[in-house]
Symmetry: C2
Subunit: 447 residues, 2 copies
């Protein structure tokens, strides 16, 4: 970052606009947006007005939505038109998803009619669909063009396209026939016909496909852009890799939140209000509280057992924690392998058999370690036996539940990450407590 | 996928090699690699020998390492040279990281001397460094070239470069002076001087920078390639976005594994052996078992309390689970925000204040719900009071520990995901049990 926030605030204070203008226009748009976010709103507006037209649009697209909203409120219609007409259409659509209705209307009003129509179409794709993250600004060529003509077309129209890395070859009905990289165009002789060198084996997705599966296809095939087609195989847009990266990072944060029993939030941590944070968490805590009450009720049925042998209570936390941890280990690995597409529900029996064998090894290691510890500490081999047997049974059960539930969720079309670790923990807890007291009664005799 | 595994196996069986050759050479390399992975090893080798030279290298780069190793064992030196010379150098280096020493030596022996030198250099960058994921095959230009000359150079040399999307302008000492996209070159007049239109405000990383921070810079600035420079600012390689995407997905799987107390594995779930899986989990389970024993010991100090009022034991699972869950919620959000760079340790006090207020709201909601439930169910307002107060105290403590530990880990240069949910759970458990019995003794009188 070439300038710090305090330097910019000072130049503003001293009204050294010329010097500030020069400094700002050598900086990266992302850095300027970051600084504007930390400045007071009124200072940010003044900085924004000093930016050149191109830079202004890019900076604007990188601002957080609260600042965008404030800024739009300060801009005249002419200024707003200047900014939005220079933004890529997919960025404008992202913006409109975040803005209140009055601002959406204002942006549509200032947009030119052609853009307005495209924006309206894009706004209609369902959230999380491939259509919602695509851009309609791609480079299209015709099969019968020569490479020289294709390059000429790119030279003429390329400036308005988000990327020219992959160019798509369409027929007269806009049906997708092929794809060619700009690199292949550049290294081919100028009189080659595009149709002869284009790649015809094309990976594409439908507008209504899930955005996560679209970006996972991009990762799998190493694509820079992914064509999005309608039901007649007409090309309507492309997903660019920078948007795909954002989706991957979002989905992963979402998975981590869900695994830990928090409703994911679209906003960054510090931009989310305390009340919103609390409301993302309380329903899960209440739900899990109810399930752990069941474990409590099971315990209360064995009151006689633990008043007769109070030592039994001492081992409860260890049994419950270990069960929960064993289950979470399995579920976390399965959830992240399902997310990357490495596993699918059809692998269930392979996974089950693998987890079963893993759980046997883990059980033996933990049961032995624990049995020895208890025997040495308390000199009571019966208690050691009860705890170790329970531990072994709990670990096996936990791994099986831990791998089964996320795969079942996926099979049912739900997000596997909904099967959070806490959820598995509470189920395993109930099982382990039940097993514990029954083994205790069997080994220690009628208590 | 144009062909299924069974179709290919059948064509092999019937020795219809011509037909198989034609089919295979229209398919995507990633799909062929996937099919080869599922075929028997000997069949896979026969399929591989049917691929055209270019396709063979691409298919090979996409195979899992166990198949690569088997295949290399079947290839003659001449065949191996043909495959590796057509691979991008960064893929060759990835391959060598996975292979046993004998194969590494064989690959180096068949490589041409220039490649061998570059490979040896790349092999020396530490794991997880920017240098370890970069490719030295980038397009370089000179400041005083015209756009026409630059395009001519790309036309001549582009075929050997991994990407020409961004071209880098170097001086005679290979010091990085600027960057220009191929799009900007194509739309500029042919006689423009490259130095006049190149971008000089360049985001770059050092070869020894952490690979995660390098890819997060690519995400932040929306870059397709990131230049990697040495300590004298000489350009030594670039990180391409496809490799960055792989790193992002790997790091996120790694975080999910660590959060759930599993040592992350480099191999896919099904390719990892049962014993390896067990050994990735047992140390954590043992460690956490030891910490939960401490909670057990705290409980045993209050034996008199729960034998006098056995109902107290009933609420232990609920208190422990809720505490653990509250802490994991906070830690998971902090860990994923730290990973995306949205939060940094300097935000600690903002985060602490936020979590404190969130915990107050969560506490009140849970304590009230729980107090009413216990009073209605057992008609004992003293017990209701004891449990609700403990619950409130536990939630506040859990959120504070949950946000503090990951930030502390980051501050100390450790991976915040090491502060797994189970780890926080066991700490919070001990606190909550201690609080519980002390509040019980205070409210219910000397038991």
């Amino acid at each position: 970052m070439t300038m710090t926030i305090s330097m910019i605030a000072q130049l503003l204070e001293e009204k050294k606009y010329n010097s500030l203008y020069e400094q700002l226009n050598t900086m990266n748009a992302v850095d300027i947006a970051e600084i504007m976010d930390e400045l007071q709103s009124e200072q940010a507006v003044r900085v924004f007005r000093l930016l050149s037209k191109d830079l202004a649009a890019e900076v604007f697209a990188n601002l957080p939505s609260d600042k965008q909203e404030f800024l739009i409120g300060c801009l005249t219609d002419a200024e707003l038109e200047r900014v939005t007409s220079d933004m890529f259409i997919d960025d404008t659509v992202d913006l409109m998803h975040e803005m209140p209705a009055t601002i959406v209307k204002r942006i549509l009003r200032v947009a030119n009619p052609a853009d307005r129509e495209v924006i309206n179409e894009l706004l209609n794709y369902p959230e999380n669909s491939a259509g919602s993250i695509m851009t309609p600004e791609f480079m299209d060529l015709r099969e019968n063009m020569t490479v020289g003509e294709a390059i000429e077309k790119i030279r003429r129209e390329g400036i308005d396209k988000e990327t020219i890395y992959n160019c798509y070859i369409l027929d007269n009905s806009r049906i997708l026939k092929g794809v060619i990289t700009v690199k292949d165009l550049l290294i081919a002789p100028l009189d080659t016909v595009v149709g002869d060198i284009m790649e015809t084996n094309i990976i594409s997705v439908h507008t209504l496909s899930d955005r996560e599966s679209a970006v996972m296809a991009m990762k799998k095939y190493g694509l820079m852009t992914l064509p999005v087609v309608d039901s007649e195989n007409r090309l309507v847009g492309i997903i660019t890799i920078d948007d795909a990266v954002d989706v991957i990072v979002d989905e992963s944060s979402e998975d981590i939140a869900l695994i830990s029993a928090v409703n994911p939030s679209d906003d960054p941590y510090l931009k989310t209000s305390v009340v919103r944070h609390a409301f993302n968490r309380i329903p899960w805590l209440l739900l899990l509280m109810v399930t752990s009450i069941i474990t409590g009720l099971i315990i209360s049925r064995y009151e006689e057992a633990f008043t007769a042998v109070p030592l039994l209570v001492t081992f409860l936390p260890m049994l419950m924690d270990t069960g929960g941890n064993s289950g979470s280990q399995a579920s976390a690995l399965i959830i992240s392998s399902l997310a990357t597409g490495e596993l699918s529900p059809k692998d269930y029996f392979k996974v089950l058999w693998k987890e079963f064998r893993i759980s046997i090894i883990c059980s033996i290691a933990l049961a032995v370690a624990n049995g020895i510890r208890i025997f040495v500490q308390y000199g009571n081999w019966q208690i050691a036996m009860v705890v170790s047997l329970t531990l072994a049974g709990t670990v096996v059960c936990a791994k099986i539940i831990g791998c089964t539930l996320p795969m079942l969720a996926k099979r049912l079309g739900l997000d596997p990450a909904l099967i959070s670790s806490p959820f598995i923990t509470t189920i395993v807890d109930a099982f382990s407590v039940f097993l514990y007291f029954n083994i205790a009664i069997a080994i220690l005799g009628k208590l």
